[in-house]
Symmetry: C2
Subunit: 369 residues, 2 copies
């Protein structure tokens, strides 16, 4: 049976990857305690002191996975129903690796203001919100507004999770080539959730010589039609106001980070213009910006992809359940760069013997953060 057919058969058999499980076996006595009349006392206590909701309910270990299906995997706008099997898969991984109870909630609306309003109104049920597979820049607007308005942390895995694992990998890769983050030139191909998140966290971590490229090429101040997030990118990157395409950007570069969704866009020839011992993170899935064997021929000192079948897998999938576990355990109210950077350093430090082909743990090597 081929892979697609196998996936279909498995999904058809399961009819849902997660289910609800009672935490207690019910008898008449238990029922009277956890439901009427006994639960009335708990209602009164929480009504008196809202914070007690964490003491007496599952809120503290329950999160929502919110998507509008506008950018599902690499497939574009697929809508709420089609996004559901992905969010169920994510919920399964959350529970299996992080013991987090995650509820998939795919929304029919794709309007940012409506999504913000809905999530605000759902917040009382959840210890954290995971925003997922919403197209950019809408996702940034939603994450920003919710982070401001809610006391419940808003984790945007495509942005925050990808940034954490990429920075973790880069910290170790730089050790291999004995370069300093503050000194290297970093070229980020892709200015969506991942590119924006990586750029922001690298800037926080001390990187000062970055170029970010979108489909129009290098982002620079005063380029036409920049949205507010790309304006922000332009302000804190590109110190020499470079212009041009990927080939121009890579000249004298130390690090390439591809989160572009473009297969084989990086060439050996382009790599030749980079500095000695370049670090190549070709993270697009399933097809990296350059295949590892090509990158090696091009002189790469460290190579990583997003794929699980190649060494050095840099993929938010390996860390999101652990990051969320940490968010919930620490009773965080907000996600900030301080927290994300500390988490990246922690993940980097779990690799005991850093080598060119071992810069990041696998999901099975991950430990509580």
């Amino acid at each position: 049976m081929n892979f697609k057919k196998e996936a279909i058969k498995l999904h058809e058999g399961l009819k849902g990857k997660i289910e609800i499980k009672p935490k207690i076996k019910v008898n008449q006595k238990i029922l009277s305690l956890i439901y009427t009349p006994g639960v009335a006392e708990i209602v009164r206590l929480i009504h008196k002191n809202k914070a007690d909701v964490y003491k007496y309910t599952g809120r503290g270990n329950t999160i929502a996975i919110i998507s509008d299906g506008s950018r599902v995997l690499g497939l574009g706008n697929q809508g709420a129903e089609a996004a559901l099997p992905v969010m169920e898969g994510k919920a399964l991984i959350y529970k299996t690796f992080g013991n987090v109870n995650a509820i998939p909630l795919c929304l029919k609306t794709q309007d940012a203001q409506e999504i913000i309003k809905i999530v605000e109104n759902l917040a009382p049920n959840f210890g954290a919100i995971n925003i997922e597979d919403i197209e950019s820049p809408k996702c940034f607007e939603i994450v920003e507004a919710l982070t401001q308005r809610l006391d419940t942390p808003v984790f945007h895995d495509d942005q925050h999770g990808t940034a954490v694992v990429t920075v973790a990998g880069l910290l170790n890769a730089l050790k291999v080539v004995k370069k300093k983050l503050e000194m290297v030139k970093i070229v980020i191909l892709g200015a969506g959730a991942a590119g924006y998140g990586i750029m922001t966290l690298l800037h926080y971590a001390g990187a000062r010589n970055m170029l970010v490229l979108d489909s129009q090429g290098i982002i620079y101040e005063d380029r036409a039609n920049l949205n507010k997030y790309k304006e922000h990118i332009a302000r804190i990157t590109n110190p020499r106001r470079e212009r041009g395409r990927l080939g121009d950007a890579l000249k004298n570069g130390d690090v390439f980070i591809g989160v572009s969704g473009q297969k084989n866009i990086l060439t050996q020839k382009q790599m030749k213009s980079m500095k000695k011992h370049p670090i190549i993170f070709a993270l697009s899935n399933p097809d990296p910006e350059i295949m590892p064997q090509e990158a090696r021929k091009g002189g790469a000192a460290v190579i990583a992809t997003g794929r699980s079948d190649i060494k050095n897998q840099i993929n938010n999938d390996i860390c999101f359940p652990f990051i969320m576990r940490k968010i919930l355990d620490e009773h965080r109210k907000k996600i900030d760069e301080l927290f994300l950077y500390a988490t990246a350093k922690k993940i980097a430090s779990t690799v005991k013997k850093v080598r060119a082909d071992k810069i990041i743990p696998t999901i099975n090597e991950m430990k509580p953060l």
Copy 2:
């Protein structure tokens, strides 16, 4: 330890009554099938044909329990957080007795239009919606609008569930006293979700001589300040345009149904004005409108309460998981009186030997409907 302390201790220990459970154990192969890249094929299939969401995800067996906490148990407006432990309890019962995966979603907003909008946007995730503990008449407005707009069935347990179990009990009680539903005079005390639901279903079943009372007394056409739901009650009940209080309403009555929340409001003296062999359903919890021993002295032929510690428990808690199971199994799009009445008759028929003290099954005697 007293009962309240025991409830608190149990809730504190559990920290949530339900949790998410993976339906499959994960290894690298399984991960690649149920998450990226394998899940992409499922996304494409559902995107092509939305109905396939029932084939490949858990939607068909997952429901939302929606509340705004505006009328929690008998405690009034308690807000979203305080409503959460009740909805978790309900979810636990749904799974235990109906194998239904129910997700508690308590909303911060208490605005009917906002609630309608939110539920519409959440519908793609759910096989049915359970509306719970929202004050009337707001709950009717919400149920009506959602039933119209959604292809997903909207079950209002306080209204539909209570009506089903009450009608089931009444069908059997009438057998005991050998009276016909079409002929008896029925007095319903309480015009909230329960009273409205019971009246509507009894009317559908053929009852033509009903009086419904709210805090202002008997509801009649042209009474001042009737909302649209009470106007509807006035139109299809009270054929002789009676006015007055409970004492007036009960004269020559055959059946009393109390869903008023008023303890000991029905007196033996009032019962004396009823016809021979009156049926007394004093369903308010925890304190019925009349205690059974009093009702017996007053000449009641059949007595039921909402309490589990007294024979003939008429309480939606005994049937909602089974009704929902049936809704999901039959892939219903709407809840209507035809369905509710058929369900009531089915429940009534599960009592093999109907007697005055055995008109309704217990939750443990309930079978799939």
